[in-house]
């Protein structure tokens, strides 16, 4: 038992509190954020307005990646046509110049949309670290009700302020049904 302290910090994934109403989850999440916790997650059977703000979730990466993808697509669509029309297969269409900007707009536009859409889709999957066949949160007792009628708040051990006993006490103050220590 001499390694008890060291083992406890390494064998805990998170402290998870279970609530029976979204309001309790919201107030717990808000005060957790105010208390300085950053690595936390909330689970609810339906979307709750303002919950992502309450847990301090900021989604800034996907839009920028999507924008960059769109720019790449525009560049790709334009250069592809430029290459085809000028170098690969120059063709006189109705006496118009080989590089006619108006005729290049549709393909440039479509390539922009395609690249932006695919970037948004795949970057979302990658940033969420999906697919994820195993996730520690499912070790939480009673977690199957997260898709039915219960609301969960997990404060993860990876957080800089994490101290299992303090977090438990903190979560107990917000009228949870139970607070459990979850294995990784």
């Amino acid at each position: 038992m001499s390694h008890a302290v060291a083992e406890e910090t390494s064998t805990v994934y998170a402290i998870v509190a279970e609530f029976d109403t979204p309001e309790k989850l919201m107030s717990a999440a808000e005060s957790a954020r105010k208390a300085g916790f950053k690595k936390m997650d909330a689970y609810s059977p339906f979307p709750i307005h303002g919950l992502s703000e309450a847990i301090g979730f900021k989604d800034v990466k996907v839009p920028f990646l999507c924008f960059a993808g769109g720019l790449t697509g525009a560049l790709f669509g334009y250069t592809l046509q430029y290459y085809v029309h000028v170098f690969d297969y120059p063709m006189n269409v109705g006496g118009k110049p080989l590089v006619s900007l108006p005729s290049m707009i549709p393909v440039t536009y479509e390539a922009t949309i395609l690249f932006a859409g695919l970037t948004a889709f795949f970057s979302m999957i990658a940033l969420n670290r999906l697919p994820q066949p195993y996730h520690s949160i499912f070790n939480t007792p009673g977690f199957e009700r997260a898709t039915q009628d219960r609301f969960f708040l997990a404060i993860e051990a990876a957080d800089a302020h994490f101290d299992a006993e303090k977090v438990k006490r903190f979560l107990q103050d917000h009228e949870p049904i139970r607070v459990s220590e979850v294995e990784p």
């Binding site: 307005h49 303002g50 839009p63 109705g94 108006p102 005729s103 707009i105 549709p106």
Partner: protein, 407 residues
């Protein structure tokens, strides 16, 4: 925002002043028109159509709101209803009456001898003839006024009895109305504006004008809502998520404007037929007053590509420009100014003799006078109609609840 001592927005007080100004200005315009100033007819048509396009746009968004009952349009529903109420259609009809009575000043097809002598116009005569045109224009105005009155009557009644059945009924009617609205508006703008250049035609015209007007209409309402965000009823409902949704809709309409505009251009550019390219030739860098090469329509076209599409497009992509009301107000104000130039470039070169005068001629002061006068009367009608019902629908409390839950 502090919840104490909030003022209530009162638009109704605008009505008398704007009404008097508009009446004086309109009578001055009419005086010039009937005393042989032929260019004034074109100026008046421009001023009138600038406001009519916003009215059509507002009416379209109102019907769209009833069809899908979105939250983003709920916040501005009463502004939309006031801007496209039956009285607006009546006032706009009355303002148009000189043109309806004497279309000859704006439409060369109204001269029957000219039409029959022109091989192209002779084949369009079954459509472009004065009796048919007059009936169609008046019929669309009357039907729009009636449909608008029907929806408004229903929302005002629901405000009093809170009967959800009315809302469900509007939703059913709105689907059909939306189809009717697009067909009738297409006919309306084809008759009134497109036929100013009777040799030219475009199948994109109706959707293009509805989208342009819809964008300007949304910009107008959001500008009003965002500049008056501190006053009731907007202070009770505005929250970042809502303005973000509204900004996204503004973004969508900006994109749609770019899409319809470029589509029309592309098809004409690709076809390269003299009759269809005439539209763009008249609005190109080749059109300037003699000896004034710097004063050409191409400048205005470039301004629209950059100012009506690219600037709002890139500004509205960023979330922070939509979640802060003052940012959204600035962008929508900019879009409205660009809509002015868009309509200017659409109507003015179609007026006989104006294309050759370039975009900057002395007549521009009369264009602005006409736009201002019609605008004052339009605003007076708008302000008057905002007074006739609560500025926010009583029956739908989704937005207040969302605001209460937000914090």
């Amino acid at each position: 925002m502090e919840e104490t001592q909030q003022k209530t927005l009162n638009l109704g007080k605008l009505a008398p002043g704007a009404g008097v100004l508009g009446l004086v200005g309109t009578l001055a315009c009419w005086g010039m028109m009937f005393s042989g100033n032929d260019k004034m007819w074109g100026s008046f048509m421009f001023g009138w159509y600038f406001w009519m396009s916003i009215t059509i746009g507002m009416f379209g968004i109102t019907i769209l709101h009833h069809a899908v009952r979105g939250q983003w349009s709920l916040a501005i529903l009463r502004l939309l209803e006031a801007g496209s109420g039956w009285k607006t259609f009546v006032i706009m009809g009355v303002l148009l009456s000189p043109v309806i009575l004497q279309p000859i000043h704006l439409y060369e097809w109204a001269d029957r001898a000219f039409t029959m002598a022109d091989p192209v116009l002779r084949r369009k005569e079954w459509f472009l003839n004065q009796p048919g045109w007059t009936i169609r224009v008046i019929a669309v105005l009357v039907l729009f006024a009636a449909l608008s009155a029907f929806f408004r009557h229903s929302t005002v009644r629901q405000d009093k009895n809170l009967n959800f059945k009315l809302e469900a009924g509007r939703s059913s009617w709105a689907g059909v109305s939306l189809v009717f609205f697009f067909l009738a508006s297409t006919l309306f703008v084809t008759d009134l504006v497109m036929s100013m250049e009777p040799h030219w035609s475009s199948t994109m015209y109706g959707p293009w004008q509805i989208i342009a007007g819809g964008g300007a209409a949304l910009a107008f309402c959001l500008l009003l809502q965002c500049t008056e965000a501190g006053k009731k009823p907007f202070s009770d409902i505005l929250r970042p998520q809502l303005t973000r949704d509204q900004g996204n809709m503004m973004f969508a309409l900006t994109m749609f404007w770019g899409y319809t505009t470029i589509s029309q251009f592309l098809i004409i550019w690709n076809g390269n037929i003299p009759e269809t390219t005439a539209y763009f030739a008249k609005r190109s860098s080749a059109m300037y007053p003699q000896g004034m090469e710097g004063n050409h329509w191409g400048i205005l076209g470039l301004l629209l590509i950059i100012g009506r599409f690219f600037i709002p497009f890139f500004l509205l992509i960023a979330p922070r420009s939509k979640t802060k009301v003052m940012n959204l107000a600035k962008i929508t104000g900019w879009i409205l100014v660009m809509h002015f130039f868009d309509m200017y470039m659409l109507v003015i070169p179609a007026v006989h003799g104006r294309a050759e005068m370039g975009p900057l001629s002395g007549q521009i002061f009369f264009d602005i006078l006409a736009c201002f006068s019609v605008g004052c009367l339009w605003l007076a009608t708008f302000a008057h109609q905002t007074k006739q019902a609560p500025l926010f629908p009583v029956y739908d409390t989704r937005l207040q609840e969302a605001k209460a839950h937000a914090h």
